[in-house]
Symmetry: C2
Subunit: 264 residues, 2 copies
């Protein structure tokens, strides 16, 4: 939503963002106008978690290589590995990050969570702050990005952090494309300094046709649809309807589910 | 191992099968000779479970369709679904079946287990016997086969049982090819009476080059490698070494880990 559109919406009380991430919204303009903003966190937590773990397992178990063999009708082993016994680091402990950690718990992996307020804990074996992100990823067999795009997380996975990863480590991004320095990731993939990537989001997005990221066999690209399921719109509608009911009953546009503004 | 080879192995005390399934072994000949037989159950439980769930999630989330789009550098949505809110039925509660159920537990799915002795329970929401397999699969969004091949389970997934499945249901077979009536599955796939299949095992195996199963976009075929990881041989060697140590210490080839014969 642009500031121009916001200026035209004179009677706006609630802006219900249909995504979890609201980095694209003019928050200070909303704040000045006293408009309540909610997001859709939680609506797509389970499917985004399934997408992230499905992509990670598919790369780990060599399923895309198997698929290539299948096209050639070749009954021949591909290289496979497993998550068990390794470590997975999940960056961001919003609804999606939590859902990913919860689902990884029985996979016999050591789960490390990175979040702004590590004192809040989380469903992980270890919870650390962003100041410890480097030591949190150094032994990981996978790093899953599920954080909002903020000044702290923009280009969090840059050349320096990519260099600390194990060369077999798989990067999963269901956050925002800008959390990764794309050029640095391409360089790491070319040099085999990273095991592979599952990218539901890219920077730029959509990914241009001539972009090198399309070409790697160990990269899965999905078009920012990790959060999508057939039930998405129904769940979103229910969330917004409940919030409108709450506000109508109380006469105030605060105390809502998933409230982003006014800050709680 | 053929009976001829067994006859030549005059001093054989222990036959340590390197698979979980021992349907190919001449068990009655071993029994007559008093040879102890062990299997490798548990050695590949975690990786077979990762393989089964990874394949299931990949089909559910449309990752192979996304991969096809990726080849064409198309940034365009594919059909995706999710496990959450649905039901998964796991047939067989050996080490692999249990590992699958345990890992599915946090995925917000209703897990039903089918086993010979349902009174033993298991890590599932519902546990039933093979006599109730039809009602156990009728509402499932996925049916995961992880049972041994026995007289009960041969062609368990036949034309009749396939017809009871939901047309979007995904069949996963990490058991033995013979648990599925292959011709019936091909017919169901052709008629869109089943949503897709993840087949690590087939009947016949290896799958002949001209077999129709190779050609379905909603079928993933892997060459009986769900149980494989880089750690496989080390874990197997440790298991056998421990059993030999136990037997040497006690002076008897019984009371071993994973003992198949003599029956315990």
């Amino acid at each position: 939503m642009t500031e121009d559109l916001l200026a035209e919406a004179e009677n706006l009380s609630l802006f219900a963002c249909s995504f979890a991430g609201y980095d694209h919204l003019p928050l200070s303009a909303f704040e000045r106008r006293g408009v309540t903003v909610t997001n859709a966190a939680g609506v797509h937590a389970s499917n985004a978690a399934e997408h992230a773990i499905g992509g990670l397992l598919a790369l780990t178990r060599g399923l895309f290589d198997a698929r290539r063999r299948q096209r050639n009708r070749e009954w021949r082993n591909v290289r496979t590995d497993e998550l068990a016994g390794g470590g997975v680091t999940v960056v961001g402990m919003g609804a999606i990050g939590e859902a990913i950690c919860e689902r990884l718990a029985p996979f016999d992996v050591d789960v490390t969570a990175v979040r702004h307020s590590p004192e809040k804990g989380g469903p992980a074996d270890t919870v650390v702050g962003y100041d410890e992100v480097e030591s949190a990823v150094v032994d990981a067999s996978a790093v899953v990005l599920a954080c909002p795009l903020t000044d702290t997380t923009r280009h969090l996975l840059d050349r320096a952090l990519l260099k600390t990863l194990h060369p077999d480590a798989i990067v999963v991004n269901v956050a925002r494309g800008g959390v990764v320095d794309t050029d640095a990731l391409v360089a790491s993939l070319r040099a085999n300094h990273v095991g592979g990537a599952v990218l539901d989001v890219t920077d730029p997005e959509p990914l241009p046709t001539d972009h090198p990221l399309w070409t790697f066999e160990n990269v899965l690209i999905t078009p920012h649809n990790a959060g999508y399921t057939p039930d998405y719109h129904e769940r979103l509608a229910n969330l917004v309807a409940e919030n409108v009911e709450t506000a109508m009953a109380s006469g105030e546009w605060t105390g809502l589910e998933n409230q982003v503004l006014p800050k709680v």
